[in-house]
Symmetry: C2
Subunit: 456 residues, 2 copies
């Protein structure tokens, strides 16, 4: 595969860039045509890579791209999941390059080459590795598996349509393993395989005070200010130990044994380096857990956005009518997204004083999941990565969420395997998203070797 990459990399860039140029932002309704354009382009790439068939499937939301190559029904089948939708690029002013005009260039910090643009990693760059590893196996006559591709366009908004579509096409999707590259490794020098991800519960809240914006001089002091009230309600969402103060929130959280925590602690972590990378003097989190545990095995709550009143240039003395926030909770196994959403909504409303009205609107959600390390797929992946990196990967737990994978596990009865090649430095979901070229190529090599070593 290494040689094949060397001979074809210019074409690879051209093809990937053709995907990155399409602003397939699922969170924004007016990007619908881009969703279709991007799905069509992926379908073309699958056919060019050697699929027997590929096409767009309507879901009610954005289309799923499904393609396959059936080598021999008696051989094991790999189902590849990925997503072609991306996060909104805002804040635009913080990008050094146009988010939808991808470029190849050095990292200003390290000088190493990377691909820059929204989706360079998450997930267009990572799903593209699978298409190219497949192409290599087909063209070199080494493919000894059946391969199915399922790429959705709604991952960044919580995959609202995919579970029903999977249920309806259960037979077509039948496979022995589900391969996913949509996560990170601990670092280049500490390759890792993700054995679990957190679930998600995402809500929007609105606090309404007076029925119109008021002059803060005429009413200030006598009328509850909804920004003040919302701030006070948000402040009450944590207790003094940094625990989420929603009653029942931790009830079903699986506490890990000392042995399990010890194994996870094998992942190297330098708190000073971590703080320097983030530019903070102090970390913050739940008492009694390490930073890696807080982002891996423990649930959390974050305000992802807040707005209200006058936010423009200069001074406007207004006592606003409304204040809003977007709140995400990352969940760990056994916490059910639907249940946590309900607990939060109930608690949040109970925090509201009589001087305001509160609305809570659930936005998206999904459960977390765990993957057994003892499986043949984990072992094959470990062997492949060891060969490419020269280091045995460690098992890790991802803090992010891919809502639909718990559904894949439930509906298709197969385990997902998370072969992620992203790094922290890639700043996915943020300005200047990128994908380190070395990881992009090593990812393709590792995936090709996975096929070599895996048999169900």
């Amino acid at each position: 595969m290494k040689q094949y990459i060397e001979q074809n990399k210019e074409r690879f860039f051209e093809e990937l860039f053709s995907l990155l140029r399409i602003p397939s932002i699922s969170a924004k309704a007016d990007h619908k045509p881009d969703m279709y354009a991007c799905a069509e382009r992926i379908s073309e790439l699958l056919m060019e890579a050697g699929a027997d068939s590929a096409g767009l499937w309507e879901t009610g939301g954005n289309p799923v791209v499904f393609g396959q190559k059936m080598t021999d029904p008696s051989l094991p089948t790999v189902l590849i999941y990925g997503h072609y939708d991306v996060q909104p690029p805002e804040p635009l002013e913080k990008w050094r390059t146009d988010p939808f005009e991808p470029v190849l260039g050095p990292d200003p910090a390290t000088g190493e080459d990377a691909i820059w643009g929204r989706g360079a990693n998450d997930d267009k760059g990572q799903l593209f590795m699978h298409i190219k590893a497949f192409e290599f196996l087909v063209r070199s006559g080494q493919l000894r598996h059946n391969v199915k591709f399922m790429f959705e366009g709604e991952e960044e908004i919580g995959s609202p349509s995919l579970p029903a579509w999977i249920k309806a096409h259960r037979k077509m999707l039948a496979a022995d393993i589900c391969l996913v590259s949509d996560t990170t490794m601990i670092s280049e020098s500490v390759p890792s395989i993700n054995c679990g991800m957190r679930g998600l519960s995402y809500l929007e809240v609105k606090v309404t005070g007076p029925n119109k914006d008021l002059h803060s001089g005429h009413y200030g002091g006598a009328v509850a200010n909804p920004i003040q009230v919302l701030s006070e309600m948000i402040a009450k969402l944590f207790d003094a130990d940094g625990r989420v103060a929603v009653p029942g929130f931790y009830d079903k959280v699986v506490e890990l044994s000392r042995a399990e925590r010890k194994m996870l602690a094998r992942a190297p972590f330098d708190e000073k380096e971590y703080k320097d990378f983030l530019g903070v003097r102090e970390l913050r989190g739940e008492k009694g857990y390490t930073p890696l545990e807080r982002t891996g095995i423990r649930p959390c709550l974050d305000v992802c956005g807040i707005w209200g009143g006058y936010t423009g240039e200069g001074a406007k003395t207004v006592l606003p009518s409304e204040a809003h926030a977007k709140i995400s909770m990352r969940l760990v196994p056994n916490q059910r997204s639907a249940e946590i959403t309900k607990l939060f909504a109930k608690h949040f409303k109970s925090l509201a004083p009589k001087s305001v009205r509160v609305e809570v609107k659930p936005c998206e959600g999904g459960d977390g999941f765990l993957i057994p390390i003892s499986s043949s797929a984990y072992k094959a992946a470990s062997r492949a990565i060891t060969e490419v990196y020269g280091i045995e990967p460690v098992p890790s737990r991802g803090g992010g969420s891919i809502a639909v994978l718990a559904e894949v596990q439930k509906i298709l009865g197969i385990d997902p395997l998370l072969l992620g090649f992203g790094l922290e430095r890639d700043t996915i979901h943020s300005p200047n998203e990128s994908y380190l070229l070395k990881q992009f190529f090593r990812g393709m090599e590792s995936i090709a070797l996975f096929y070599k070593y895996w048999n169900k």
Copy 2:
């Protein structure tokens, strides 16, 4: 004057609307040309009304319009202050009509005719009454005063240039009284004269956590979220009794005597009506004071705006780098704006945990002031209003701020008299600003009569 209004009102509307159509928003730098256009138009109107001279004076910021008619140096001189700049119109989607395309139409709630548009009341509509009362006196040969007009273009941003300009033109501005129509009355049936206004201290704060926006799944739980921290800091700005929790904030506040509070309590106030007008079930404010006291004789603090993270459509799972808020404090006599700004900045920074960095930027400010009820000007105004309304006006205390009036008092050594004809229903600073036609006309009549009854 009543008859003059009847004969000329179509022209009055045309002239006022020509001012309202100019979006003279001082908070936005790109409206500079509108500031000049509006100032020029006012200068024209002054000349047409009968001024000896009128023109634009550079201040370093937006120009001051100054015009005058010197009838006889031995007669008393009236200086009229007003401002031609307006508040930003946002949120635009809440306006029923274009904010800068004024219309005459009925109030949907009461059916009474009003002028609708940004500035209809504050302050273009109110300063216009003075120009027309002056025109009437000149044309009917009744003017027995010298009259000077000083209209600035930076009131809504705290009058940064005017005090220096007044100092530099002290002689030209010499007068015996400063008339201002830029405030409200208690109600149509309870006319009032404003005897004091609150000062202002306005700041912008910024809380920075990590040096870039982060994926809330990868970092959520381990890194302080600046929105969370800002919310917690804002929550700490009040104590359990609804008092501003900035140390030293109340140190210089003048406590009113029981007799003074009793006199102010003569202003009728129906809490149920007030709550219904605002659409709230419960009021909120400092313990031990009535709502009118809280907005009149007591200082207060309001968050006028807050923003951070993702505020667009849909769900973006981001742990943002920054969170911002705009905070205004309304001050009462003896609280100095500059001192309160310093106290706030010091306290706010002390609330910040080590996991974030905090910046506090002062935006604008001005001191409050009081006006003696025993003055000849107050008495003349009271007589004029009694004649027009058929009811004796009550003295009141305004919650808003006209930063520059304390400066007028200090530099020119004359008292301002606040002849405001706005009503709560006018929702100045908010969408659908309007000015009740009846008040607009009664204001002109009252002002004309003030000249009749006032002698220094």
